[in-house]
Amino acid sequence: MIVITISRQTGSLGEALAIALSKQLGIPLIDREYVHTHWLPEFTTMNQRNILMESIKYHLLSPKGSIPFYKAIENRLKDAASHQGAVIVGLGAQAIFQDWENALHIHVIAPNSIRLDRIQRQYGIDIDKAEKMMAISDRKHRRYLWEIYGLDWEDPGLYHLILNTSKLSIPGAVSIILQGLPEELALDKTKAVQEGDRPIADKVEFAHKSEEEFAKILDMYQIEWQYEPTTFPMEWDAEGNVTMAFAPDFYLPAFHTYIELTTMNQKYVTEKNKKVRRLKALFPEVSVTILYKKDIHALLKKFGIVQED
């Protein structure tokens, strides 16, 4: 079965390329999130999984009476790949499948200026935050391969193909990769997948009724607003992937203010408060306000959108 490993710089479109390849070839996509969600719960505790998300060196440890964590992940990857093939993002797969006969190893890169631009647009953040995010993720990608496998992440000898996506669309990159596959594994080379070229919705679809009502109040005061325009990266795993992000509901550009509405029960409110505190710690210059259930109700009542009690 074919195995395609995708090693990528953040902002290189590596993830979008992996999704497109997986769909084109009809084989599973396996990334760190998939491993954490589907495999690790079988042989780790929640505490162990939390540490694995944070620490590279923890992967080298062996739980009592068992093999090291990274070996257990390796075994599951090999098992899955041999049964149905896979497109694997990260996870040291270029090392794990280095000698695999049907494996194609791809490194996806882009010039820093283009990566920064993409990161800014993807997460809606400014250049300083994008630079910080790029530096953190590069460092973690590099360290992961070095600490676990003693290999240099940027060694071109590890890869069959190094793709610079600065002038390549996702369909174009997919096409190049398919051309490089052995004939018996190439499948249908004509179906270019348009992943990454998602249409922009011309109408806002709110996740919750209260958000729509709040937008009406802003409209009433002719205050310009944007709905979930920015996703702030909050936490990264040991490999440099963003594992927690936060997208406040509204941004008021004229006042440089983000507003998060919550109509949920206290358990989730606590979680949101935690996220907002973390956001303020990471991005102290960002102004963000939480509007709680009672505040929203008071506002709606004030403007006659709901009946008074």
């Binding site: 009406k216 409209d219 009433m220 005061y221 002719q222 205050i223 009690d309």
Partner: protein, 178 residues
């Protein structure tokens, strides 16, 4: 102080003397800051009426005063509508030093609308003075230049502030409980 035993105005939050003393201090500060600038004080009807009247008399430099009124218009039933100026300024503020005089700022939505509307007249400067500031309800952060009192997150009436048009005439600020 004896509070009227009527409906929900339950306790005095800021008494008459406290209001007068604080407004006197604000008037002095504004007089010093605006010396030689002949500011225009603009208040929003009807809540800011009493505050503007007392503040303008505590200011010792020449001022002009004017009023705005804001209303909500709805073109369709069940539609939230839009906020519009229902009584515009009588004085031109282009090139003038303008001080918005507000009774209370909570969410900041009205103030946000007001500042944007007044900025369109190209004043020389635009500052904000509020008698009461309820920061717990703030959605829009605008710099407040003069604050009379920071208050807790309670509904207040009196000294121009109303509940369904009642209580405006009280000479003190009271907490209203439904």
């Amino acid at each position: 102080m004896e509070i009227e035993k009527t409906r929900g105005a339950e306790r005095v939050l800021i008494g008459k003397d406290e209001l007068r003393n604080r407004i006197e201090i604000l008037g002095q500060q504004i007089s010093e800051d605006y010396t030689g600038r002949h500011p225009v004080l603009i208040s929003v009807l009807r809540g800011g009426l009493y505050f503007l009247a007392d503040l303008s008399r505590a200011i010792t430099i020449p001022v002009h005063i004017d009023f705005l009124s804001i209303g909500r218009y709805s073109e369709e039933q069940n539609h939230t509508g839009v906020v519009r100026i229902t009584k515009d300024l009588d004085i031109s503020i282009t090139g003038r030093h303008v001080l918005i005089v507000e009774d209370i700022i909570d969410t900041g939505l009205t103030l946000g609308y007001l500042t944007r509307t007044l900025q369109a007249h190209n004043p020389e400067s635009l500052s904000i003075c509020t008698l009461l500031n309820n920061p717990a309800r703030r959605l829009i952060n605008l710099p407040l230049d003069y604050i009379g009192f920071d208050i807790p997150d309670v509904f207040v009436v009196g000294y121009g502030l109303d509940y369904k048009e009642d209580y405006r005439h009280l000479s003190y600020i009271a907490v209203y409980t439904t």
